[in-house]
Symmetry: C2
Subunit: 121 residues, 2 copies
């Protein structure tokens, strides 16, 4: 898969609250489908569908143990999605800087600024 | 919209190469639908559909000028998606550390290690 297609399937897989919750659970260690389906109050087939989407996107891998087939989170697609978003960091950081400037301006109201000028003299 | 729903619509909007390319273009400044449709060799209605998805996700806003309605990128949903991914950073960073350790181990092959031991004596 080319990078652009990988980003398509990573972002599509992340666009669902259950799949994000599954990844959050797997971030603390491997789990079987049975173990995953318990906290989510979902049937195993419903969880299996979500796992297939995550597996196709490369966000999880499955163990070889035929009975249990434990799921493991795979960090690489998350790192690639993060890299893509990082290239926009300057946009939100410049917004934060503008907000900071406004807040500073509000804190040092004309009265305060005049007072601080008098002190400095 | 709750945070989880915002992440759903942000990630879904980002799961398309044209929409990511539109955001990349808008990161360097506002553009009208006409200006956006030119580099993409797409019709204006096709671009408009993508813009509606981006606008619903809050990733762009449209200007008030009735004729031109320039599109502007909005950084906040990108920052929120980035925050979500950042919580998994330790996963890929620990993978990188493991890889580094393996590379270091390969560099200092047994022969080299023996030589460096002899030098140190």
């Amino acid at each position: 898969m080319a990078m652009s297609e990988r980003l398509d399937s990573t972002f599509a897989a992340l666009a669902d609250p259950t799949r994000r919750a599954i990844l959050a659970r797997l971030a603390s260690g491997e789990a079987s489908v049975l173990e995953l389906s318990e906290p989510f109050a979902m049937t195993q087939p419903a969880i299996s569908k979500h796992l297939k989407v995550l597996e196709r996107a490369g966000l999880i891998s499955r163990g070889r143990d035929a009975q249990r087939r434990p799921c493991r989170i795979e960090a690489r697609p998350l790192a690639e999605a993060n890299d893509w978003l990082e290239s926009y960091r300057r946009l939100w950081q410049s917004n934060f800087r503008k907000l900071d400037a406004v807040l500073q301006e509000l804190k040092s109201s004309p009265a305060k600024r005049a007072a601080s000028k008098r002190k400095r003299r």
